[in-house]
Each structure stands twice: as C-alpha cells, then as structure tokens.
C-alpha cells in the first residue's frame, strides 16, 4: 500500500500541480491552512506531512509546532530559501528534511522516500535510491522513474544504468563497464556493451540520436550526466 501524504500549501495552483505528480506514486490529501491541516492530520493519519512555510493566518512554523504537539509524524519543509536559522528552528521542532525551491520531482520523491524509509524502520538514508537530476533509480522496487514516469527496463539495462548512476558525472571506461557487467572473461572485442547503451538510450532519451543522459566519451567510454 502506498504511503499517504498530507500536502500543506496555500498556493493552490502550485499545490494542485504537486499533488497531481505525487498522486502517481502516493496517496495525497491536501490542506491550505492551519486548521485544515490539523483536521486532515487527525482524520487521515498521513505517513508524512509536507509543509510550505509561507502560510496565511497560522504560518507554517505554527502548523509544525501544533503538529509536533500531538504527534511525531514526519515533516518535510518546502520553502523558497532555507536559511541556517530556519534549519535550526526546524531542527528544534524535529523537522525531518528540507527542500528548497526550485526542486526536481526526482529529488522530491527521493527525499520523501528517504524520510518514509527512515521512519518506517530505524535507519535508512537515500542509500537505496539513486538520484541524478530528474532520474530516480529505486533499488528497492527495482524501478526507474524519469520525472515521475516509469521507465521499463530489462534486468541487464537496469544493472548498466545502476553502474552509470553510481558514478554519474564521471566518465566510465568501456572496459570497466564491460568488466563490471560481465566479468573479466569477455574482453575480446565484445560489442555487447554498446548494444545495451543503445537500448538504454532508446528507452531513456527523448532523442536517442542526441543523448542528454548517456553521453559518449569518444575513445574512452560513457558517462551519465
């Protein structure tokens, strides 16, 4: 069963947009002010509350304080900017994470997952989730999302992407990739890696001929941007 998230934001258009996206992955309930938040928290018992800190009437911090009065429900703060003072303030209130606008959906999803995993059982950081920009590789579910859209990969493709993602921003040599994928005994002119780079691209890239994600480092190997 997917987790339930309470989204608190008084900017209705933005809230709607966010909710739409999150709904693909979680169950989402919303509130636009302090009182509504408390009601929803009570009746829906969400697993996580995401609070935009500039709320009218009761400001975001007030909401958080009152939530904290009645429970230890995980809270993520959403704000335009997060000063050190804010972080301190949040820390004393037991806020679980901060996200500063602008943010990518992948980042949001990842942080949500991280917080949920952490609170569901003891530890767990984002270790089981790799994030590269708008690309999320969820090693728990063994699924890949590009801007919330699920990308269907074969096991081999998944493995290859995982390797690249673990070193994203760094070029990985063809030889090393091949070795990691198929072990030492594959060396002689094996063309198989390229075959998979190609199929990954065709699933991941908007325009596979001009790859944005998996770029070729000519004479060396490949790199995930």
């Amino acid at each position: 069963m997917s987790s339930k998230i309470l989204l608190v934001d008084n900017d209705i258009p933005l809230q709607t947009m966010l909710a739409d996206h999150l709904q693909k992955v979680y169950r989402v309930v919303t509130a636009t002010n302090g009182q509504e938040t408390m009601r929803q928290a009570f009746s829906e018992h969400p697993h996580l509350v995401i609070v935009e800190v500039e709320l009218p009437g009761m400001d975001g911090w007030g909401v958080i304080a009152r939530l904290r009065e009645i429970s230890s429900i995980p809270i993520i703060i959403l704000s335009k900017r997060t000063s050190e003072a804010d972080k301190l303030r949040g820390f004393t209130l037991g806020v679980d994470d901060y996200i500063t606008k602008p943010f990518s959906y992948a980042e949001l999803l990842a942080r949500i997952n991280a917080v949920l995993n952490r609170t569901r059982r003891g530890t767990g950081t984002l270790e089981n989730i790799l994030i590269v920009d708008d690309l999320m590789i969820d090693l728990n579910r063994r699924e890949v999302r590009l801007d919330t859209k699920l990308v269907d990969l074969t096991p081999t493709e998944f493995r290859l992407l995982e390797i690249l993602a673990r070193r994203h921003g760094k070029a990985v040599s063809e030889e090393e990739l091949t070795k990691q994928m198929w072990g030492e005994y594959r060396h002689e002119g094996s063309t198989i890696l390229r075959r998979y780079i190609w199929s990954l691209r065709s699933k991941l890239e908007e325009d596979p001929a001009n790859p944005k994600w998996i770029v070729t480092i000519r004479g060396f190997g490949y790199m995930l941007e």
Copy 2:
C-alpha cells in the same frame, strides 16, 4: 472488537479506578492534561472521549474546543456539578452528554453505550493485521480478505503472501523467498515457488494474467504492490 475510550482526568486515583472498571468492557487509554489528550486523540483515535472539566493548564473546556477543532469525536463531560450555563456552553461545542458526580458505574456505562450507539461504527485495531491497500491479512485468524471478501488460501499460500506483505512495496528476490519458505535445502532449479505464486495469483487476482497485486520483477523476484 470493543470500542476505545479516552479518559481525561487529572485526579489520578479516580482516573485509575475508573479506568479499571471501564477496562472490563472497553479498551481504555488515558490522559491527564490537555496536551496529552491531543496526543492520545491523534494516535489512538478513540471512539469516545470522557473529559473531567477541571484540568490544570489547559482547562477542560479548552481541551474540548481543541478536540472539536480537529474532529467530531463524541465527548462526554464529567463534572462535580453541571450548571445550566455549562450545559449551554457544552451544547454549543457539540458535547454529547454530561455526567455529574457522584455517579454510579451503571449510569456511566449506560451513558457511554448510549453515546456510542448513537455514533457507532465499530473499527478494530491493526495489531497482527497486515494491510496493503484493499488487502487485509489477519495473522490471528489466519484469514485474508480482499475488499471485505474472504479469500480461501492453503497454509503454504498464506505463508507466501505473508512474507510478501511484510515487505510490500519492495521487491523480494526469488532466492530469498524460496529460502524463507523452504529453508536452505532445496535443490537449485526448484520451480516450486512459481507454482505457489501462480496459485496465489489465481486466487487473488482479478485477472491472473495481468497481476495487480503480485507483480514479477523480471530477473529478480516478486513484489506485492
């Protein structure tokens, strides 16, 4: 399952005595001040709150007001004396009943039942019950319900579903499933797990060929959604 009652009273000896008696009929949780009351209301979701109106810090009326802010949970007021003014005050707050000390247990139970019957819709606890969306696995009764309909499973099927449910949302490898089900000692190419995945699906899934619950993670294992 019996109803759950939140008993709010700062007179500890009296509260204890009351709780002892009520416990024979209901499940009882307690609080001794305003904040604790809000916490309990949130985390326990009682069917009924009984409030002693002379509380320290936040007085009884304040507690009631704050409870009413977040829910329409039934409330019974307990007080030494109930003036007409109090009744009016309570009425505007939507209090369900008043009990004036001294009172007999019989009277208390009667009024509790009356209020509960008025508002009743019994809900159970979640202990020893795994819930995944519309799927309920009752480990006590060893029964599985899908959207209230009972699903008849064999012991082996039940065990398999339980394992999957405990990690729902995460892929579980075929190897691990097999190990958990039958231990280490099972020859390599054992296909027995698939047999049971298949029979589970045929009992659980609306369209077993397009499983919604038990999805295969190709090259890895299975996952309960």
